[in-house]
Amino acid sequence: MAAPMTEGPDPAALEAWAGDEEQATKPEEPSLSAGEWLSRNLFSSAVNSLLTVVFSLLLVLVLRGLLNFMFSEERTWRAVKTNMRFLFTHAYPQSQYARIWVCIGVIAVLSGLSVGLLARTGGGISMKKLSMNLMAAGALIALGILLREPSAAVGADGRAIHRSGAEARGDSFVDWLDANALTVLGLLVLANVLLAAWFHHRGTYLQVATEPRVAHGVLVLASLGVLIGQQYATGEVVRESFAEAMADRAWWWLAAVVLVGAGAALWAGLGDARRRNTFVPAMYVFFAGAGLMVLSAWVYPWGHYAFLEGEFIAEPGSTVAMTTKLPWTVIWILLVATFELGRAIKGTRVGPRLRVPLNLLWVMTPFVLYWAVLRDPDLDWAHVMSTDIPMAVFFAVFGGLVVWYLAHPRIGETGRVVAVGLLLVAVLNWVAAFFGWYPMLQKARISFLLLAVVAMLAHNFAGDRSQRMKLVAAWVAAMAVFHWLVTLVNSPSTVDTPTDALIGGFGITLIVAVFTLLLSFPLGVLLALARTSKLPIFRVLSTAYIEVFRGVPLITLLFFFTLIFNLFLPQNMTLVDIAGATIGFSLFSAAYLAENVRGGLQAVRRGQYEASDAVGFTTVQRTLFIVLPQALRVSIPPLVGQVIATFKETSLLAVVGIFDFLRIADKVISAQSEFLGVKREGLLFVSFVYWIFAYNMSKYSQRLEKRLGVGER
C-alpha cells in the first residue's frame, strides 16, 4: 500500500537542504542598508515615524516593568526553584526519578530519529536572518541591562535598606528627574508630535533625508535616557550605584557581547548574496541553543535549591545539582546523536521503511511510558502465565485465522455472514456483562469486540497471499500489544507516593493532554464521518452528540466525570479523577475536532467521490484512501488550533481538585510556610512554560502546512 519513494535523480540533490531548493526559486530580495530599511519601514512619513516613536516607548516601558518585576529584590524566585520538581512531577518520589529521565530520554530519541529521518529538515534559517536575530537578541539583553532598576542595597539582616525620612529626597538632578519623569517624557513626546507636524507641513520629510530623522533620533534617545536615568534616582530604598549595577550584571553583559559579536561576525562573513542565502537547518540552531543552556548548567551559578529529607537547601552561588545537569546533558547528546543517525539512515534503503514503525512507536509511547515506565507495575506472574498469555495467544491465533479467511478476495457474502455473526456474539457479551449474567474478563470482551470490528472491515483489505499475511501479522502484533498493555494497566503500581495521584504538576498536564488527543482524534474523525454519512441514524446521533457536547461548558463535563459519573458505575468500579477528567476533555474536544474535520470533508470535491466509485472502491476504501487524506490535510490549521486549546484547557484540572501545573503554582506553593504568600513568581513561570509549549506547537503546525502545501494546492 505504501507509495514508492521518489528517488532524486542526482545524489547531490538528495544531500541538499530542501529549504535551499525552495528558496532558490524565489527572487532575491533587494538588499537594503540598515538606514534605508529604517526609513522605508519605520520612518517613511512624519505620521509613521511618530507612531514608531510612541509605540517603541510603550514597548520599552512594558519591558522595563517586566524586568523590574522579575529581578526585584522583593521576588522570591527561590520558591519556584525549590519547588521545581514539585511543579513538574508533584509527589513522584525522588528515589524513582530515573524513570522520569528514561521517559524524557525515550522522547528525545524518538524526536531525534523522526526529525532526522522523516522531516525533510526543510526550511531552516538563512544566515542573514540568523545573524540579525543574534544581534537583535544581544541588543535586547543590553537594553534590558540598562533599563532594569538597580538592586537595592541589602543590610546584614538580608532585607533592603530603607532611607530615613531626612535623606529620602536629595536635590540632585536625578532626584528631580525621578519626581518629574512622566512630565519630561510627556514633553518629549509632545515635541515629537510638533516636529512631525512641522515636517509634514513642509512636506519635505523624505526629500530632506537627514534632518527630521536625526531630530527624531535625538528625541528617542532623550526619552530612553529619562527612563534609564530615573532608575538610578534615589527613592525609598537605598540602591546600588550605576557602576555597581553594571558590574553586577557582568554575566549578562558577556551574553549580550557574545551574541552581538557572533551576529556581527556572521554578518561580516556574508560577503555576497549566495552566502547570505545559505540555510542553516533549524535543528542545528535549536541544538546550539539547547547546548548553551545545558553548558550553562555546568558553568553558570544558577544556584542549587532543593528540599531533601525534610531540609530546605539553598546554595545561591553553586551550579545546579548533578542530578539535574547530568541527565539533561545525556538527553542533549542523545537528541543530537539520534538526529545525526536519522540523517545518516535517511539516504539509505532502510530509511523509508522506518517511517511506519516510527509512527507506530510514537502512538505507543504514551501508553508504554505511563503504564510500564512511570508506574513500574507489579506483575502477578502466576496470573500472567495462567490467564493473560493464554488469552492473548488464543485471540492472536483465532483472530489471525478469521482475518486470513475473511481477507480472501472471493470471500463474498459468506464473509459478511461470518462477520455479522462475530459481531452478534460480541454484542451479546456486552449485554451479558451489563446484566451481570455470567462473569468474564473484560479483556476478553474488548478483544472480541475488536475482532468483530476487524472482521467487519476485513473484506475492504482483501488481496493476495502477501497482503493477507500482512493483515494477519498486524492483527497478531495488535493483540500482543493490547494484551500486554491491559495486563500492565491491571497490575498495581509499585511507585509509592504520599498522595492519591502517581504524578502531578506539569507531568499530569502533559499526560492528560496527550491521552485526550489520542482518544479524541479518532472519535472526532468518526463523528465527522457519521455526520456526513448517508445513513440518517448516524447523522442524527452524531449531530446530537456534537451539539450537546459543544453546548455544555467544559467545566460542567469535568465536574460530571470526576464527581457524579462514579455514582452510575457498578459497586466495584471507580473512575479516578484523572481518568474521569481525561474522558471529559476527550468527549468535549472530539466534538470540536469533528466539526473541524467536517470542514475538511466538505472541501473534498465531488469528482473525487465519483472517481473512486468508478474504480469500484467500497465506502470504507474510498473514505480511508481518497477522502480522509485530503480532508485531514485541509483541516490542519484548525486541528492544531484545537490541540493547542486542549493543551491549555488542561489547566482546568485545577478546578476539579487535581494537582496540575497551575494549581501547584497558584495554591500550593503560596501555602507552604516557607514561602507563604509567594504566588506571582510561580504564576509567571507557569505562563512562560505554557507559552513555550504552545508556541512550539504552533510553529510545528506552520512547518507541517508548508510541507503538505496547504493553501497552495
Partner: protein
C-alpha cells in the same frame, strides 16, 4: 469447506465468551489514571461482621485495603501544608497518621487527598475518601443536612481581626474600635458574614471589601489598602509570623474571638465502628496528653503504667481496643509514632508563632480539651 470454517468460528466464539476468569477484573474505562488496582479489586466477598450503613462496614473496608485515604486541605499552614517533595505536614495531617497508626499500626499507611473547600463533602459522600481532616468547622447544618457525622473537636479556632499597631490598635482592642476602617475578608465565606454581624452588634459602621484569595488580602494589608483583615485566629497568627514586614507591627484582637470555629474530623454517616476508631484515636491522644505520655516516654509508660487507665490505653491488661476491632497496642503505636495531643499541636503551632492558648488547653488547665475516660 466454508461450512466447516463457519462451524469452527462459531464454536470458538462460544468457547471464548463462555470461559474466563470467574473473578471479574474490569478494565477501568479509558483509565489514564492509576485507577486500575482499585478497580481490579474484587469487592464481592460479603463482610461477615455486623454491618452498619448501606455500603458495608467502612472500618473493615479500610482494613482490607491496607491504607487510609484521608482528605486534607494541603494548602493550609499549621493544619496541612504540602512540602516540595509532596509530603503533607500539619495538625490535620498528623491526625490522619494517628488514625492510620490506630487502624494499621503504621502511621505511614495514609494516602492524602487534597481537597478544596467546595468539593470536600462531595468527596466524602462519593466514597473518594474515608475521613476528612480539613480544618472543617462543626456546624448544625453540616452535621444534619449534609448527611455526615463529626468526630471530637481537635482544635478550637475562632475568627479574629488583625490590624496595624501604628493605626492605634493593640491586642486589647475591641470590635467597636474598628469604626470607619476598611475591613477585608474572603468573599462568600462565613467570615464575611461574621464580621458584619459583629460590627452591627457593636454598633459600628465599617466598610467591607471582599477578595477571592487570602494572599491578595494580606498583600493589600501590607500595602495599606486594608486597615483591618479578618480570618480564623490560627490563620492570622501564621500570616503575622511569616509576612509581617520589619517596619510594621501587626496585632490580633479581640481576645475573645467573634465566632466559634470548632474544627473536627468528618466521616460518613452511620458508620459507628469506623467512627469509634476515629473518635478514640483522638481521645487517646488527649488522654495521653493529660497523663504526660509522650512519644518519647511511651515505652517506659507502657512497661510501668502510672494508673489503670493508662495501662488499658496502652494495650495492657483489660484493654478495650480488641473489642473495637483494633489491635491491642493500637493507641500505643499511635502515640509512639505520632505523639500525644500536646506534642502534635506544639509541633505545628510553634513555628507559626502560636501557642495552644486558653481554649485548646487541657480541661485541668481551664481549657476545653477533655476526653471521656478509657474504661
Amino acid at each position: 469447506m466454508r461450512r466447516a470454517l463457519l462451524a469452527v468460528v462459531a464454536v470458538a466464539a462460544l468457547f471464548a465468551s463462555a470461559c474466563g476468569d470467574p473473578d471479574p477484573q474490569p478494565v477501568a474505562p479509558g483509565s489514564a489514571g492509576g485507577s486500575a488496582p482499585e478497580a481490579a479489586e474484587p469487592a464481592t466477598t460479603a463482610p461477615e461482621v455486623v454491618t452498619d450503613g448501606e455500603d458495608g462496614d467502612l472500618l473493615q473496608r479500610v482494613q482490607q485495603r491496607g491504607r487510609l485515604v484521608c482528605g486534607v486541605s494541603g494548602t493550609r499552614v499549621i493544619f496541612s501544608e504540602t512540602l516540595p517533595d509532596g509530603t503533607v505536614v500539619g495538625v490535620d495531617a498528623d491526625y490522619c497518621r494517628v488514625v492510620a497508626a490506630v487502624v494499621f499500626g503504621d502511621s505511614d499507611a495514609v494516602e492524602f487527598v487534597s481537597l478544596t473547600a467546595a468539593e470536600r463533602f462531595a468527596a466524602l459522600q462519593a466514597g473518594h475518601i474515608d475521613v476528612l481532616f480539613r480544618s472543617t468547622t462543626w456546624t448544625q447544618s453540616r452535621d444534619t443536612e449534609v448527611g455526615l457525622d463529626f468526630g471530637p473537636v481537635i482544635y478550637y479556632d475562632g475568627q479574629q481581626l488583625m490590624a496595624r499597631a501604628a493605626d492605634g490598635f493593640s491586642a486589647s482592642s475591641q470590635v467597636a474600635d474598628i469604626a470607619g476602617a476598611e475591613v477585608c475578608a474572603l468573599a462568600g465565606t462565613t467570615t464575611e458574614q461574621n464580621v458584619s454581624d459583629a460590627a452591627d452588634a457593636a454598633g459600628t459602621e465599617i466598610s467591607l471589601s471582599t477578595f477571592e484569595d487570602f494572599d491578595q488580602i494580606v498583600e493589600n494589608f501590607i500595602g495599606g489598602g486594608c486597615d483591618v483583615i479578618t480570618a480564623d485566629g490560627s490563620s492570622l497568627a501564621g500570616r503575622k509570623a511569616k509576612q509581617q514586614p520589619d517596619d510594621q507591627e501587626w496585632v490580633i484582637f479581640p481576645a475573645i474571638p467573634i465566632s466559634k470555629e470548632p474544627l473536627a474530623p468528618v466521616y460518613p454517616q452511620n458508620q459507628s465502628r469506623f467512627a469509634d476508631a476515629v473518635n478514640w484515636a483522638v481521645y487517646a491522644t488527649i488522654i495521653a496528653d493529660e497523663k504526660g505520655i509522650t512519644s518519647g516516654n511511651v515505652v517506659e509508660m507502657a512497661a510501668s503504667p502510672p494508673d489503670a487507665e493508662a495501662r488499658r490505653l496502652l494495650g495492657g491488661e483489660d484493654e478495650l481496643q480488641t473489642a473495637m476491632g483494633l489491635a491491642p497496642d493500637a493507641f500505643y503505636r499511635a502515640i509512639s509514632q505520632v505523639g500525644n495531643y500536646g506534642e502534635i499541636l506544639a509541633r505545628h503551632l510553634e513555628p507559626a508563632g502560636l501557642t495552644r492558648g486558653s481554649l485548646n488547653a487541657s480541661w485541668r488547665d481551664g481549657g476545653l480539651i477533655y476526653a471521656p475516660p478509657a474504661r
